[in-house]
Amino acid sequence: MEVILGSEILEGTYTQIHSCFRDVINFSINDDLLISIANEKIGGGPLNIVIQECNTEEIKSVTVKSSEIVINNSVSYQCYRKEWILPKLSRIDISKLLKTLEPVFLNNIEQLSLAFLIDEKQKPIFKSTLERAFLEKAIHAFTFLGEDIRKCCRLFKGLGFGLTPSGDDFNAGVLTALGLTTLLRTKNEDFSLKKDIFVSTMGKNPVSNNTIYIAYKGMCSEKLFRLLNAVKENHRIEIELNNFLNIGHTSPIDFLTGLYAYLKRYYDN
């Protein structure tokens, strides 16, 4: 059975279960970050261990060695490490990516996500007092995208519904956009920009922190990696986009909102 180990997972034994869901179980590394044992539906990532058809409920501990993992001190799997580094995009790639992502926001309806920041017609979905308060906060934060991206991300931190608040996914999207455009930027200021955003957006929710950390390190999940390469190579774009959007609830859309908004603002000619 194929077992894939993310590049950022250190050798050792992990026993502190943070949370357990149908497709993934999370172990705490420390207060800030997690490693995840996931099935192929979730897919790989720098902090993921992918085991086909894994039954998350039965997993109580995992020991990571150089080319082997051991579950519950008893079942051992051969594994290999894999890295998913963000590809560097050219301006043409960015144009293609923006064109690919645009219809996603128009198709997203009746989900309390940040897609309304791209498609205003979705604002009426937010009906309750709380939902309207979220809407206003998000709009306010978004106004700073052009003039003060650091402030924009600070205001988005921890904002919104879901286990990973929408704003955290948005910030991970912005950090990812910064990683994708490394070759296109020239100002020194931009290298501190990424670090500033990272420092100000890491919080006490390790599930959110994982996505922000990975984005800051210039890496990404397997599903995002496949999507970005599909766009670069003009091959299987729809399939990979669907695969990416099908993980989680609004997290993919919120992430793509941050990614799209940043690229559109700064790199769309």
Partner: protein, 515 residues
């Protein structure tokens, strides 16, 4: 009103569960408002803005789950909390509730049901072919719901199926009824002696429902997937299915449903028909029916007619009497259309479809009445919509096409895209008719009337002279309840027709006669 809350520390629930909890809370008696969010600084501030911040939330942290409740009184609050506790318990125990073994492989499943003889496969395309191959090797018929299977794989699988005398329905086969059992998207149709072979999902559904409406029933309804009748696949399964029905003692009438097959495939089909002992009705949507008729089959003009003719043959009623009745019915529909045109403003039609075959059929029926229609799946390439989200003149859209289903469920399940589009179209004063298909049955939205009626009412509020015309593909025994759905739609102001063909004829007649 009181505002209170609970903090859950160290308990984590996925976002969908949190959304469901929030939805449930708001439905409890005596609860005016609520919020379910993680305890971040920003979320606490939106709770404050929303008037939902009890004092106890002050020291909550990022990783705490906050549940804020605004209740009419303490009693309502306590009742809500008790129900909420049950809900959380269910969520925590969800995966360990049942100790039943859930198989994770075909072998495991066969271990549980050793005499299973059909495998319905719905996995990502890249895995589907190998799963289908395994199933065939174990002697199972296969229904391949999955798409994104290569043509080479499809051809190989169907050759294996033919050799082993096993059905390979699909890929991209969404509908079948085998031995009276509806599979995937299918309707609850009476059992009878009419067999259907279909290279079209909603085509199969429409025909089988019309058969049921005419108090007849279906012996078997075999889907083949749309590609089967193309040159590459050569109609392998279509022909096998035809032969199976010809040899099935429970089948007395055979109906063939497809878009136009490749000419070589059509030759094979008609060659078979010639030697059949049972009557054959064929509907090739958009195809030339001459060859079919020359070889002894009855060519129907549309899906509804195919169902009615098949029912007539089953009941041993003269086909001519049925076609005559259809002609008279069409005259009445045209009269109604002319009358409605007199009260209509605007000049354009907008069709918003969930079924691809129904969308195609509608365009064909409308063509002689109002000319070509713009579409994302047009009859002629020059009528391809430039922007899928902006209608032009007379437009009919297949919302089930890939462009609209990226990252979202099929429009037969999720109406939200269609509802949004209805509102947009209603705001355009040039629109006179909105045409919709409502498809019932297993797999489809369980409350289509509940979903779409508020939008119909809103549309008519925006433009009271708009004609909203619906057809319902369904039967009285479908889970949604055909009669209840029809009544709700009619009460909301929509005009409900018995078939897509009737609805399209009515819509086209209105547009044609508007002055």
């Amino acid at each position: 009103m009181i505002i209170k809350g609970i903090i859950k520390t160290g308990e984590y629930y996925d976002s969908v569960s949190l959304m469901l909890i929030a939805k449930e809370l708001n439905s409890f008696d005596g609860i005016a408002d609520s919020g379910v969010v993680m305890g971040t600084v920003e979320n606490k501030s939106i709770l404050v803005s929303g008037g939902l911040f009890p004092q106890e939330f002050e020291n909550a942290g990022d990783a705490d789950l906050l549940i804020a409740i605004k209740a009419e009184n303490n009693d309502a609050y306590e009742k809500a909390i008790a129900k909420l506790d049950d809900l959380f318990k269910k969520l925590r125990n969800k995966s360990s509730e049942s100790s039943d073994f859930v198989p994770k492989s075909l072998e495991g499943a066969l271990g549980q049901i050793p005499d299973a003889n059909l495998s319905l496969i719905s996995v990502a395309g890249k895995y589907a072919a190998s799963e289908a191959r395994k199933a065939l090797e174990k002697g199972l018929h296969v229904m391949l719901f999955s798409d994104n299977v290569s043509i080479d794989d499809e051809l190989e699988l169907k050759k294996i199926g033919k050799e082993k005398k096993l059905l390979v329905m699909g890929p991209d086969c969404g509908t079948a009824i085998i031995n009276g059992v509806p599979l995937a998207f299918a309707n609850v149709v009476s059992r009878g002696d009419i067999g259907i072979v279909a290279a079209s999902g909603t085509g199969l559904q429409e025909v089988s429902c019309i058969i049921d409406k005419n108090n007849c029933g279906v012996s078997q309804a075999i889907g083949t997937g749309g590609r089967d009748v193309k040159k590459d696949i050569g109609g392998i399964m279509f022909l096998e299915a035809m032969n199976a029905l010809e040899n099935d003692p429970g089948t007395k009438v055979i109906v063939l449903v497809s878009k136009p097959p490749h000419p070589e495939v059509l030759d094979k089909i008609t060659s078979l028909i010639k030697d059949f002992s049972k009557p054959v009705v064929a509907i090739l949507i958009g195809g030339n029916s001459e060859q079919i008729e020359k070889n002894g089959a009855i060519a129907a003009k549309n899906l509804s007619e195919a169902g009615e003719i098949a029912a007539a043959l089953s009941k041993k009623i003269s086909v001519e009497s049925v076609t005559e009745a259809i002609k008279n019915k069409n005259i009445e529909i045209e009269k109604l259309g002319i009358k409605l045109a007199g009260n209509s403003k605007g000049k354009y039609l907008r069709g918003l479809y969930s079924g691809g075959t129904l969308c195609d059929e509608s365009q064909l029926i409308l063509k002689p009445l109002i000319g070509n229609t713009y579409s994302n799946t047009p009859l002629s390439p020059e009528f391809q919509l430039k922007d899928l989200f902006k209608s032009e003149e007379n437009t009919i859209i297949d919302l089930g096409d890939d462009d609209f289903t990226v990252g979202r469920p099929h429009p037969m399940i999720d109406f939200s895209l269609r509802k949004k589009r209805m509102i947009e179209e209603a705001q355009n004063k040039e629109v006179a008719v909105i045409l919709l298909d409502i498809v019932l049955g297993f797999g489809s939205n369980l409350d289509p009337a509940g979903e779409i009626v508020p939008t119909i009412k809103e549309v008519l509020k925006i433009n009271s002279s708009l004609n909203i015309i619906c057809s319902i593909t369904g039967t009285k025994n479908d889970p949604q309840g055909y009669n209840a759905v029809k009544k709700s739609l009619s009460d909301s102001g929509a005009i409900v027709m018995d078939s897509n063909a009737d609805a399209s004829l009515l819509a086209g007649t209105i547009i044609k006669n508007i002055k």
